[in-house]
């Protein structure tokens, strides 16, 4: 494990400036309610505008509609979007991971069918991993796909499926052959499922504040054609693990409270609160600077062809805890009864952070699971 310091090149800085100019024009401060990181609103029109500039699926090859840009370029775009609180929800999953999975493991036909549409910002994807009896122990999934003449019949239930009620497609980890003794990682496969398929039912699992992100998706004899199997049969676990490496360690794991902090500074400027929060801002900018450098160095490593799974697990574990720490520091320091319908944007955002951020150290793999992954990787290091 080694995080090598890196910095943005002239071209990369110019991309950063282009994204900043775009946001300043499209979403000037005060014109929109900032989103809290990747739990962002879905705004297809906004996704299409980003796609016009080549910023959706940008790391995918040109032949499939992408821009052949690097992981660092994607880091820059994602970073600027998230710190601005931009509504990136519609293309988020496709851009971060599904596009990569289809490129890496999919058939030529699947690449042709999905990648250009992803890069145009058109398609929204959900991910089907957890089930009522499978959470952190993901390999125990039991939703079954059984082979028929030209496809698969699926029965079972997926839960915590974000956005299934709004998205188009579902990348699902399913059991395509029965669990063998002692090898629960075998017999799993990834299938692409149309969320409008007959027999597929979507019902909301209301979030703790009543909002609708999560769903339960039940399969009742849902037919999926053979051509929708991603990669080799039985390789779903391996593919899924690879996918997780893309999912971890990026700006989405440490920038979620930034809009809230920025808004605090905006509202505190020139008031007596400014002095109260000054030292805290010192600590926050230092930590953000430090964690950002780690996260950026992971993106740079990916561009050298490495799969820095230990490094990205360490950054995600630290970043998501940091997000919660930021909120706790704000709550501790500022003695107001913030309310979700306050006139103050800062108060509204803070209330939302307090209520939703416990999920930050759970989504995409709990920090306990991440520690287990990372600590095994630490063992080989020289002492």
């Amino acid at each position: 494990m080694r995080f090598t310091p890196t910095e943005l090149t002239e071209e990369e800085l110019s991309l950063q400036q282009q994204v900043r100019d775009f946001l300043q024009e499209e979403l000037p401060p005060g014109s929109h309610e900032p989103c809290l990181g990747m739990a962002a609103n879905k705004d297809k029109a906004f996704s299409l505008k980003m796609a016009e500039r080549g910023w959706v699926g940008m790391a995918l090859p040109k032949e499939w509609g992408g821009s052949d840009r690097t992981a660092v370029d994607r880091f820059i775009v994602v970073e600027e979007m998230l710190r601005w609180g931009a509504p990136v929800g519609h293309h988020w999953v496709a851009d971060r991971q599904t596009g990569n999975v289809i490129l890496k493991f999919g058939t030529e036909e699947q690449r042709e069918r999905f990648l250009p549409a992803i890069c145009r910002g058109e398609l929204g994807f959900s991910i089907g991993m957890s089930e009522p009896d499978s959470g952190s122990d993901l390999a125990s999934v039991s939703t079954k796909a059984e082979q028929t003449t030209d496809g698969w019949i699926i029965n079972g239930t997926k839960i915590w499926t974000s956005g299934a009620h709004e998205n188009d497609w579902f990348v699902c980890l399913l059991r395509t052959s029965p669990m063998e003794d002692g090898n629960k990682h075998a017999g799993l496969s990834q299938l692409l499922i149309d969320l409008k398929s007959p027999g597929l039912e979507i019902s909301p699992i209301p979030f703790l504040d009543g909002s609708h992100h999560f769903n339960e998706v039940t399969f009742n004899e849902v037919f999926v054609p053979d051509i929708n199997v991603v990669g080799d049969l039985g390789m779903g676990w391996h593919q899924n693990t690879t996918e997780m490496a893309y999912e971890r360690g990026g700006p989405d794991r440490w920038l979620s409270p930034f809009s809230t902090v920025e808004q605090l500074l905006r509202e505190a400027k020139g008031t007596e609160l400014e002095e109260t929060v000054s030292d805290l801002f010192g600590e926050l900018v230092a930590r953000w600077w430090g964690i950002r450098n780690l996260s950026l160095s992971v993106a740079r490593l990916i561009d050298t062809g490495e799969a820095p799974s230990i490094e990205s697990s360490l950054v995600k574990e630290m970043g998501t805890r940091y997000e919660q720490e930021v909120v706790e520091k704000l709550v501790h320091l500022i003695d107001i009864e913030y309310s979700p319908d306050s006139d103050s944007l800062f108060e509204r955002l803070l209330a939302q952070c307090v209520v939703t951020f416990p999920g930050n150290t759970i989504r995409g793999g709990t920090i306990e699971i991440l520690r287990s992954v990372a600590s095994k990787g630490l063992k080989g290091l020289p002492a």
Binding site: Q263, L265, S278, G282, V285, L314, E317, S372, L378, P382
Partner: protein, 358 residues
Amino acid sequence: MTEATGVDELVTETADRLFTQICDHESVQNAEAAGAAPEIWSAFAETGFPWISIDEDRGGSGGTLLDALEVLRLVGYHAAPIPAAETGVLGGWLLASSGHEIPAGPVTVLPNGNNITASVSGDQMTLAGTCTRVPWARIAERIAVLVEVDGQSMVASVNPKDCVIQPMTNMAGEPRDTVCFDGAIAPASPCVAGVNPESFRFRGALSRAALMAGAIEKMSQLTVTYTNDRIQFGRPVARFQAVQQHLVWGAQEAALARMAAETAGREANRGPAFFEIAAAKLITNQAAARATKACHQAHGAMGMTQEYPLHHYSRRLWSWRKEYGGDAEWSKWLGNAAVSQGAEGLYALVTGGSSVLS
């Protein structure tokens, strides 16, 4: 040199090998008891390492500030009981920036020298006042005293024999002596532009960040090894999720501290780096606190003994955390910088650092 902003790999290899040979647990322990480690210093000085980043025509060893900070990182990693930072990037820098000769032996500086008063007559300076917590003053050949006289930063190269030195230590048993200057007379000369009490404070913080990054990394690695070797309930304690938490926290803080120190070093090596250094010192300070807690907890009672080496690193970290600025000083400095940027400039500060502060 691997690249324009990189560290000479030979420096890393040679320094690591040297310290591995001469700074084992026992010799570091003995140095603490004796209050000095002349044989470790001699072996270190023989390589020319103490004077890296000081131009050869000024009596140094050449090389970049990055190379010098890499040596300091390894000094921290091996808990080498020598005034490496004081002799090179701090004292050597002050002497070379003011045209003084670089002595063959150790040099020290005044981390808290604000209360020293000076009067200048020609090229001689007469000093008065007492300075506390001067690293290794008892073995120094020269004390590089930086003072402002009529708005001009000047350095006096003081012979410690002209001072009264009272031995004191920090929590790691490293010499942090009290030096009384009353009546000391020493040759003095003005500094080149950019060398002043403020830039010295930042450079001191940068030196500590490098030392601390090394010590935290070593502590983290010791902890991984120990918990994988230590068997309880029939398996290595590292297999327990509760212990894994400490391993991961230690490794994260090590990575964060090293990244911060190296990034600050890179910026300082090529221009103004006030933001990066302030952030790096605050980060390493807090990383030291979190990592020592995690690593001690994972070691159990063994980490609380003198016979096991964890304390060489943890006690140094607790001490270095307070040298050249504790958490309050740097968060205040950074807070002023952040607030002065305003909401619109806040993220540009995170990404652009000193380049956006003018």
